[in-house]
Each structure stands twice: as structure tokens, then as C-alpha cells.
């Protein structure tokens, strides 16, 4: 089961605020194949999150082409993007973003409830499986506030996995964790990758970037080669 999941060509993103244009992305080319583990790094403000949000269909590009699983998705409407996001994408956020009034199980079930026509029993089964996968099944009925940061992030990973997405997108998943908990989450992602998951992770920690099999460097809205990056950084 191999092939290209994500194909991005000449992607641009311009933000207009108070008559100021911010060119967050200026001509990004990127391909991610099924089963790949890609780490994205670069200095703060270079466009990592922006790129990830476009890949995750949270935002639309200003220009360029984006093909997800062979389907052109750059200019879909809100409803279609939501549907595809729900089926193809699993998000892991820096600040976990679990919903405080929902239990662990309900949080994990949430993306499945947005999927039409999935029976409750099947949802329960998937919730159970993904929580077991991240070793959090015993905390099913707890609320996020009753968990440590590391545990919360593991639940978030389970939530991302529950819908069996084509790709997991993670934006600095260890940013809010201490190093020990950070390591544990990294280890979990690595295991998932070994089991076949496709992952695209943003991090500026070189140690964690090294976990990935491919590293991409972003600089000023463009993908640059590693050597080139060092040179550019030296110039600054």
C-alpha cells in the first residue's frame, strides 16, 4: 500500500492585515508518500504552521495546487473540506486541545460523531482500540483536567487515530511537555509510523526531528535543502 498521499506544487499563502501583505508561503513544493514520517523545521514565523494548516485543510492556499490522495483539494468549499478533514486527516496539537467538558472517551469519539452513518457500537469499538493503542484505555471516564500533560497528549493522539486517517498532522506536539513526557510522545509516534502510519510533524527540536525518516526545512515561506539552510542561517 504505497503511493503519493500529498502532492503540493508552487503553493502560496498571503495574509492581508491592515493593508500589510504577509507572504507566509511563497512557492512551496512538497510530496509526501504513504507511510512516510516527515519532520518539518525552520525558524519561528517561517510558515510551518501555515503550511500544516493548508495540508490539513484548515485553511485554503492563495495559489498553487494541492492534491490529496489524488484529488484536487485546494479550492473546495467549507463543507467538503470538513468532510475530507474528518476522514483523511488526524490532528495532534501543541496544546492538546482536548475539550474540557467531555470525558477522555467522548473526546476520542468526537471525530467519529461527525462522520455520518457510523453506528454507535462501531464508534465505541474504535474508541476502545485507539485508547488501548496509546495505553490510556483505563482512563476512559476521566476528564482531561484529571490527566497530566503527557497523558492528555496521548489521548489527543488516540483521538487523531480514531478515524483511521490517511495522515497524522502534528504541530509541535511536544511544545507544552517536559522532556520526559515529550520523549514518550515521540516514541509513540515512532511506533505508529512503524505500524504504517503516515506522519507529518512540525518541530524545531533537532533531537525530535531526527526521529523522522525525512526532514524538510522551511525558510521564509520556501522549502530549502539542509545545506542551503545552514548557509542561509549563517548569513542572517
Amino acid at each position: 500500500m504505497s503511493g503519493t498521499i500529498i502532492e503540493i506544487e508552487n503553493l502560496t499563502k498571503v495574509f492581508y492585515t491592515d493593508e500589510i501583505e504577509t507572504h507566509a508561503l511563497s512557492g512551496v513544493h512538497l510530496t509526501i508518500d504513504r507511510g512516510e514520517y516527515v519532520a518539518m523545521s525552520g525558524p519561528s514565523g517561517c510558515g510551518k504552521s501555515t503550511l500544516l494548516s493548508i495540508i490539513g485543510l484548515l485553511d485554503t492556499p492563495t495559489g498553487g495546487r494541492y492534491t490529496l490522495n489524488g484529488k484536487e483539494v485546494a479550492n473546495l468549499n467549507f463543507a467538503d473540506r470538513s468532510r475530507i478533514r474528518n476522514q483523511e486527516i488526524g490532528f495532534i496539537f501543541q496544546s492538546f486541545n482536548l475539550i474540557g467538558d467531555l470525558t477522555v472517551a467522548e473526546n476520542v469519539e468526537l471525530p467519529l460523531t461527525y462522520r455520518t452513518g457510523m453506528p454507535s457500537s462501531e464508534r465505541k469499538k474504535k474508541v476502545q482500540e485507539s485508547l488501548e493503542r496509546v495505553n490510556m484505555a483505563h482512563r476512559m471516564r476521566h476528564y482531561p483536567a484529571q490527566l497530566s500533560g503527557g497523558q492528555q497528549q496521548r489521548v489527543a493522539v488516540a483521538r487523531a487515530l480514531a478515524g483511521s486517517p490517511s495522515i497524522l498532522l502534528a504541530d509541535e506536539p511536544t511544545g507544552n511537555l517536559d522532556s520526559k513526557n515529550g520523549e514518550a510522545v515521540m516514541k509513540l509516534l515512532q511506533e505508529l509510523h512503524q505500524e504504517g502510519a503516515t506522519i507529518c510533524m512540525v518541530t524545531h527540536d533537532p533531537r525530535f526531528a531526527a526521529h523522522a525518516e525525512r526532514q524538510i526545512h522551511l525558510f521564509d515561506g520556501k522549502v530549502v535543502a539542509e545545506g542551503e539552510l545552514n548557509q542561509l542561517l549563517a548569513e542572517v
Binding site: S49, L52, S53, G56, L58, D59, F78, A79, S82, R83, R85, N86, Q87, F91, F93, Q94, S95, N97, I99, G100, D101, L110, P111, Y114, R115, A145, R159, G163, D171, G175, N176
Partner: protein, 824 residues
Amino acid sequence: MFANCIQDFRYSLRQFRKSPGFAFTAIAVLALGLGANVAVFTLIDGILLRSLPYAHPDRLVAINAPSANGFTMLLNYSNLKQLSDAMGSRTQTGVMLDQSRASVVGPGGRLQVEQETVSSDLMTVLGAQPQIGRSFRPEENEPGREHVLLIGDDVWRRLFNQDPQVVGKSLLVKGRSYTIIGVMPKEFSFPFGGEKQVWSPATIGPQARSAMAGPKQVWGTLFARLPEGVTAASLEADLNRVQAQIAKEVPDSEIPLKLEVTNYQQSLNHQARKPLLLLYMVVFGIWALACLNVTSLMLVRAIGRSREMAVRSALGASRSRLLQQSIVESLLLSIAGSVLGLLTGQLVLKVLWHQIERNLPLTNEVHLEWRVVVSLIMLTCITALLTGIVPALRAARRSVQEDLHGVNSTASASHTRMREGLVIAQLALTLVFLVGAGLFLRTISALRQVPLGFGQQNVLTGGVIVNPTMDAADSDEESAHGLNLVQSAYLPLLDRLRAIPGVRVAALSSVLPMRSEFAVSLAMTLDHKKTAYAQNPTADGRLATAGLVDALGIPMMRGRFFAEEDSSTAPVVVVINEAFANKYFAGQNPVGHTVSMGKGRFADARIVGVIANMKQTDVTKPTKPEMYFCLAQIEPGTPLYGIAKAFMQVAIRASVPADALRAQFDKALHDVAPDATTTDVETIHEAVEDSFGSQTLTSRLLEGFALLALVIASVGLYGLLSFTVAQRTREIAVRFALGAQQASILQMVLRRAQVLMVAGLACGTTLAWFAVKLTQGYIYGVQSHDAATFASVIGVLAAACFVAAWMPARHAAAIEPVVALRSE
């Protein structure tokens, strides 16, 4: 501490400038809540709480004889004198005998005044001294010495331009010359609340002094000042004992047996007590609603600023300091709200003044007083405390740690629950108001649908007091002079009215429907059948001219109404109404039967017609038997001439809008009787609307308040949902990131609103179920637990909730999913 306060004030002002929407909403809501209170409290102060301008007003009592049907009967002077003697010399007493209007002329022009004829000792009982001149002397009730006059301050100003030399001047009142002996102080009035009053001693001759029956009696009301140690109740017991004794000594007497001693002030305002307290409860509810609403607004801000608070307390600000800041802020809002509320309240009174005046006593004395202002200041402080403390305590209780870290971004559940509770309470209160307003709307429409029995189109009505140049007591003298008001004033007036272009019919009657009336109960015999006095047929006695049925559009059931040939020389004719016919001529044709009243021509009056029933003073009451006499056949010495002389009313049906005729009516009247005065010139439609009286007033007020409550509660719900949505922006973005559709987010917010609404409606319905008990006795034509009213009110509130929830729901659905990725 003081410097702190100043600093807090400045800080608060800066905060308001930063969020004008919040400040505006809070101030507006408080202004409405406080303004409603000011309006009602102004009324309560003026009507119930004001102390009367007499010495020790709490000891001043009125002695009344209540009749079985709710009226107050007058006692004859002889009777009053005996009662007063029985009270002993420690108790001062005085009598008020007659009250009439007169049109008088002085250096300041023409003025309509109210003449009170009193016993000479009355001013002493009241403890009142003139500001200029002297009071009455004891002998000034004797015939021939009674032509002295005390005038009110306003009369002095307007009629005499405040002439300091007024004492000794004379004034012509109803054709008699009076010598002015003094000017009463500015705040004085008696009966209390009257305007443009003048007082003169009643003529009490030796016969009047002792007459217990017959035509020489004079009538009055007794006032007394309770001495130390005597209560109204003990005096009442004593007087009732004495009265029983008196009644025993006068054979065959009609003197009332039951006497009632009430504090004078209470006797004036007791019928206003219940409606005013009901109103006060309503505005108290509005105020509570406003407080709930502003508290929840403040809570939003407290939470929004909790991080700032946390920083401040981390920097060492004490909890009480933070509390102070919050209270200063709510105090500023409350002060602004109360100033605006004061204006709103006065405006409300102005707008509703017509209804208020018609339905509540003592309204002349209703002004904005210092007591109202003081109570407003107190209420403002309470408001500030209530709306400031809760949010401050809540904000202070939040953990500083948590807020500084800001990791846990979901709102604290207890905050949300509290705010939801506030919104539910607001919705519940609103429902109660809406139910009240609904019931009164139904009442008014039920009242309007009652068939009146007369037409309302283009009919102008007005009372006429001719103010004959002779006094009422001397009817003998009058007939000797050959003066007959019917011939000299009323019939000429009718001719002039009929000549006005556009007038189709003009008629006179002593009583017109829905207008204040002199009820005169007549006892008579029918067809000369002798019965015991107590079993004699009785009816409301009325006078009318030809044309009355046409002017009012009353159908004739049988026979005819009065015509021009029913003159003073023709046989006496009467017309009865259906109620009379049904009661005394069941199953017969009354036309042709005879009615006897007294002797002479009136012993053989013939019934010539039966008119359909029409509503009398109250559309909710059944029509009583009426008997009409023809005005043209009335002259001095005949029954009912006294009524004709006192008061007649005009009904004019026109082919033009009735309103346009007021000026011509006035002119025609003054052409035939220059001294005549008019009362309540209004269209019959206005008279009908006014007769709904307190129901209209309550309905208007409740409708206004209910609408207000609806707006406040909707704003409350809107505010809560907007705030929740703003607070949950990130959560909603995460839901989008996980694949939520816009419709499901829309639904999520609306479902929250629905839960609050259902809870609010449930609480409100329960509350209203009990609260409607208060409306009993006020509503008509609708049950207090009327299902249709409850259902439609619930529908209205639900619709308002939906509208209030829709916008925040739309906002929620428009949140960008990408927000989920942003780190805070």
C-alpha cells in the same frame, strides 16, 4: 483609601471607554429597572406616604357611615352635632357640608374655583391658620353672618395677583357677595389634594341645627382630632353606641346605624393601596431582572479580565482591593443608570398621566420629592453592591496560578453554571410579566367587546354646571322669583347646540353612560298600588330631553321617547329601560301604565316607552332599572329639579368628528349662562375607554414592563451565548478541525439555548401559575390560568429566545478552523 477610590474611579472610566457596548447595555438596563421603580415610588410617595399638611395629621379622623353598596352616606347636621357632643370637649370636631364649583371673576380674570362650605370650627380641627387675615369665628355659621370667605393660596395668586390688601375685598360667588377674611397657606388644601379652593361657613339656622328629618336637614361629614389616649377604634366603638341611642330616640328615622372612624389620610387613599402595591411588586420584579442581567454582564467582564486580576493580585493587590475596584465600577454604572432612570421614570409618569389621574386618588400631590430621591439613592447603592460583589467574589476565587498559566482554556464550570442560572431566572421572570400583560390584554379586549347598548361614533359629551345665581338651599325663594333653569338655561342651550353646523342631534340628560354620575334612587308606586315603603319599586332616576336616544343610538324597545310636545303643560310622561320593564312588568307591556311620585302632576305619570338597556358606569356590571323624566316638564318644586339645577350633561351627535365641536359647545354654553362651567368634555368613545380605568392603566404598564423584560432577558440570553461562544472559540475551532460541519456547530449553540429556554419557561410557568393570583379582581373575561394566554406567551418568549440565540450561533459557525492551530 480615598486616593485608592479616586484611582479606581479613573480606572473604571477608562474601562468603560474601552468597552462602550458593555457600559451602554448595563446603564440602559439599570435605567429601565430603576426608572420603573422611580415612577411607581413617586406615586406611592405622593399617594400613600405623604403626610398631610395639618397639625398632627395622624390624629385627624373622618367619621363616615358606609352603606351596604359601598357608598358613603352623609349624616344630617343635627345627628353630627349630637355625636360631636358625645365625644366631649377634649375632642375637637368640625363638619364639611357641601362642595360645589363656581366660576368667579377677580382682578386676575375668570377662574373656576371649588367652594367648600364648612362649619366654623373646621379650621381649628385641622390646626390650620391663614397666612394673611383671620380664620372663621364661631358665630359665622349663623344665617346672615356667613358671607365670609377664606381663599386658597393659588386662588390668591391667580385671581388677585397676590394682592397683600386682599383681606376685606369682596368676591361674588354664585351671585352672592362674600367678604374675603384670609388667605390659607400655600401647602394647605381641604379636602386634601383639591386645587383652587375657597372656604365659607355653611348656613346653619336653628332649624337645621335640630332637624332629624324633613327638608330642613343639612348634610355633612364629621372630622375629629383624637385626643391623647383615644384610638380610632375606641372612638368608633363609642360613637356606634351613641348612634344606636340616637336612632332609638328618632322614630321612623333613616339615619345610618353603622359608623366608621378612619384616619383621614387612609380614608383618602385606601382604594389605591392594593393597585399600588401590585404595581410595586411588578417594578420590583423588573428591578430584580435588571440586577440579574447586569450581574451576568459584570461576570462576563470579570472573567474576561481574570488574567489581569490575577496579575494584579500577584503584584500584591489584596482581595478587598480587587473587590473595591469591582464595586466602584458597578457603583459608577448604577449611578449613571439611576440618573437616566430618574428621567425615564418621570417620562413614564408623564406619558401615562391621563390614566393615572383617572384611576388613583390624590394625584395632585404626586411630585418628585426628596423622599423619592433618597429611596432611589438607597436602591442605587443596593444595586451597585448586588451587581458588583458577586462577580468580584467569583473572580477573586479563581486560582491565580491557573490564570497566569492559562493552560486550561475551558471556562470554569461553576462560572458557566452561575451565568446560566442568571439567564434562566431572567427568562422565568420575563414569562411572569408576559403572562400578566397577556391577561390584561385579554381583559381589555374583552371589555371592548362588551355590547354597550349605545353608539360611539362622533358623539361629544360634557357636563354642565350652570351655577345659578341663587343658592341651592332656597328653592322657595327661587320659585317666588319665577326662575326656572330648565326654561332659562337648558332649553335655550339645546337650541343653540342644535343650530351648530354639523350637529345632527343634541340632547341633555342628567346621566350619560360611562361618565361620573349623580345616582339618584327613586322610590315610586306603579298603577297606584299601595305597598309597604320598603317594597316600593326603585329605579335610577334620570332626566332627559327629546333626542337622547338618537344622540346615543339607543334602540326603542316599545313606545316612544320624549318629543317636543312633552312640554311643561302636557301630561307628565316617563320612559323606562328594559331592566325596569323586566323587573316590574315581567310579561306585560309597560306602555300606558302609571307611575306615581309624590303628589300633583307627578302622581300620574304615564309610561310612554321602553328603551333598550345600555351599560351604565361599568361595562362589567349588569344594567340596573332606570326611569327617565322629561327635562322640559321639570320646574322648581317638581321631583328631580334639584338634579337639574346641580348638574346636567350634554350629548351631541355630529356628522363631523366630535372632537371638532368642543369650542362651539363652550361658546353656546356661555352665551346662555355666562357663569356656567363644564366638566370632562370628551367624546363618548374616550369616556368608554376611561371607564376601563385601572385595567387600562395596569394593562399599559404591564405591557410596557413585559416588553422591557422581554428585551432585557433576550439581551441576557444573547450576552450569555455570545460570551460562551467567544470563550469556546478554540474548542469550536478544534471541533471543526476534527471534521464538524457548520450545521452541527449551529445546532450545538442553539441546543444550549434551548436547554436554558426550556428551564426558564418551566420555572417561569410555575412562578406565573402562582403569581396570577395577584391579578384576581382586576381581570375580566379571562381565567387567570387561561391556557391560550400561557401558550401564546410561551410562544412569544420561545421566539425571542430563538432570535437572541441565532446570532451567537451564526458567529460560532463562522469561526475559522485554523484557530485550532494557533497557540494562545
